[in-house]
């Protein structure tokens, strides 16, 4: 890993105001590909039950309408060649932040800049479960903007990467969740992406597939690209990423090398990393 030239200028204990002002993980001489400038994002949801407690500061109540302040002022800069692990507890805003960066969910304030439209690969994505794997490959490719000829040319390598040759003509509802995720990753990884965001999509794959997909991710990031990987597996992040961001309750708690952030996060979770 090439962490040496990277310097970390944010500690875990900064106040929210300081975090907004000086959040950049600087890397001299590298080209920025994603800049996130103080973004906020709120979900507006109709409550379907009675509130248990009013202690949670991220949820504002107004009649039956609940406002969840999911992202509360996040700033970061990602450079080309970066592969960034995003960690945090469930509900800390990881997926929301990733969807905001890819432009899928609109933000309420702040600005996000990117060198090109980020591609998002997440759990439960573009798959129609009553259709066969084969038809889903075609639909996924078309939605990503590939031509039919391009999809035909890549079809075999997608199927082989997913390791689903025997099942490709069966409806996807008969697939295990691991098989679904493998197919989705294979579809997304069949194309070059300048900015690729992977949201826990690899968590359910088996050992062998994980190894291959991590290799493919390093390959994608090693070009002019940049990869974001949301994962609960410290091992995946340490193996794939040079940098990590720890999100906590909608703010960046720590931004640094994968090693030090994973170490701090694991310690906070009560399961310190072994040396």
């Amino acid at each position: 890993m090439s962490n040496e030239e990277l310097t970390n200028d944010i500690g875990a204990e900064l106040s929210s105001a300081e975090r907004v002002k000086a959040p950049t993980f600087t890397a001299a001489g590298k080209t920025p590909v994603v800049v996130v400038d103080d973004i906020h994002l709120k979900y507006r949801v109709h409550a379907s039950g009675k509130a248990i407690t009013r202690a949670n500061s991220r949820v504002k109540r107004n009649g039956r309408l609940r406002e969840v302040h999911a992202i509360q002022g996040v700033s970061l800069v990602a450079y080309e060649g970066d592969s960034i692990g995003v960690i945090g507890t469930n509900g800390s805003g990881k997926s929301t932040l990733m969807k905001a960066i890819s432009g899928i969910i609109p933000i309420d304030s702040g600005i996000i800049y990117a060198s090109s439209r980020p591609s998002f690969l997440g759990v439960g994505a573009a798959m129609i479960k009553t259709l066969s794997g084969e038809k889903n490959i075609i639909l996924g490719g078309l939605a990503m903007g590939m031509s039919k000829a391009e999809i035909r040319a890549k079809f075999d390598s997608i199927v082989d990467f997913a390791g689903l040759r025997d099942f490709i003509d069966l409806p996807m509802e008969t697939y295990s969740s691991g098989m679904v995720e493998r197919l989705k990753f294979s579809i997304a990884a069949s194309r070059e992406h300048e900015i690729l965001i992977i949201d826990e999509a690899l968590a359910v794959g088996d050992q062998d597939f994980r190894r291959r997909s991590e290799a493919r991710m390093r390959e994608l990031a090693s070009g002019a690209g940049c990869v974001f990987l949301v994962s609960h597996s410290m091992k995946s992040i340490l193996d794939t990423c040079n940098r990590a961001i720890w999100l906590d309750k909608g703010i960046v708690k720590m931004d640094g090398t994968a090693e030090e952030v994973c170490r701090a996060y694991s310690a906070a979770q009560g399961a310190p990393l072994d040396d």
Binding site: V35, S75, G124, A143, M144
Partner: protein, 282 residues
């Protein structure tokens, strides 16, 4: 200018999540049109994959409808029945079903594809368009059946049957515009879905699917209103072309075309203006 803005500007990065200009949007839509077609076709197959009659249901259901309305209005309420009743009713039901089916089904095109919308970046207008394409694929065999039916009930094919082609194009443009409007409204409030069946029901009576507006309504302003409603005009033009004794004026053609263009333009702009909003709360 903040530090981050300066960094972004130095690498000439572009803003994410802003609505593209209409021209760029439409070009992007056109580039990915094959997705809309494939999505429509696969959805049709998936919809009927589990039933034993399969795709045939898309033809059987309207045929049954014609049978039911034929019995009710042709036999039981025979006093209001227009001349050449069976061809009149067949044209009415097939065309009415095509347009209203598109926007009723298309209303959910964004909300029911939440996973797709939230996980992939593509011009969202592809989804309502895909629903219209799916309805178009379903109506083509019905149109053939309708022509055979009209012929079988005594109307010999003639050159004016070709009016059906421009008429069908006008209907499709109108349906596309209406579907886009319905899809965006449903994103703002799900309540639209509860109201749509009433809209369809009112249109069903107000466009003369099984009765002749011009012969039955004698209050002038009401007649003008009913007569110029787009669904009635599309049916009137088809009937004028296919059934003896029915006519459509040049004015009918003009008003029908105006409806189509206006609805499509309004629908596209109305839908596009909320493009960046479709990922939220669906």
């Amino acid at each position: 200018m903040s530090d981050l803005t300066a960094i972004a500007a130095s690498a000439s990065l572009k803003k994410v999540g802003t609505r593209p200009k209409l021209g760029v949007y439409l070009r992007d839509f056109f580039k990915r049109r094959t997705f809309a077609v494939a999505f429509a076709r696969y959805n049709l197959q998936a919809m009927t994959a589990r039933s034993s009659l399969g795709v045939a249901w898309h033809v059987v259901v309207p045929a049954l409808q014609i049978g039911v309305y034929g019995v009710i209005f042709g036999v039981l309420l025979s006093s209001i029945r227009p001349p050449h009743f069976v061809p009149y009713l067949m044209i009415g039901i097939v065309l009415f079903q095509y347009v209203t089916g598109s926007f009723s089904e298309g209303a959910r095109s964004i909300t029911s594809n939440g996973a797709l919308v939230r996980s992939l970046e593509f011009p969202r207008i592809l989804l309502p368009v895909s629903v219209v394409i799916s309805n178009l694929m379903r109506v083509l065999p019905l149109l053939a059946l309708m022509m055979i039916g009209v012929w079988a009930f005594g109307e010999a094919p003639k050159l004016t049957w070709l009016w059906l082609i421009p008429d069908f194009i006008m209907m499709t443009l109108f349906a596309a515009g209406a579907t886009m409007v319905a899809a965006r409204l449903t994103v703002h409030t799900e309540d639209v879905n509860q109201l749509l069946p009433f809209v369809v029901r009112i249109l069903f009576y107000a466009s003369g699917v099984f009765w002749n507006i011009d012969k039955m309504i004698h209050i002038h302003w009401l007649n003008v209103m009913f007569h110029n409603n787009p669904l009635h005009l599309y049916m009137a033009i088809a009937r004028a072309g296919m059934i003896d004794g029915y006519t459509a004026t040049g004015n009918d053609w003009l008003v029908a075309a105006a409806w189509s263009v206006a609805m499509l333009v309004f629908g596209v702009i109305f839908f596009w203006r909320a493009e960046e909003e479709y990922g939220r709360n669906v």
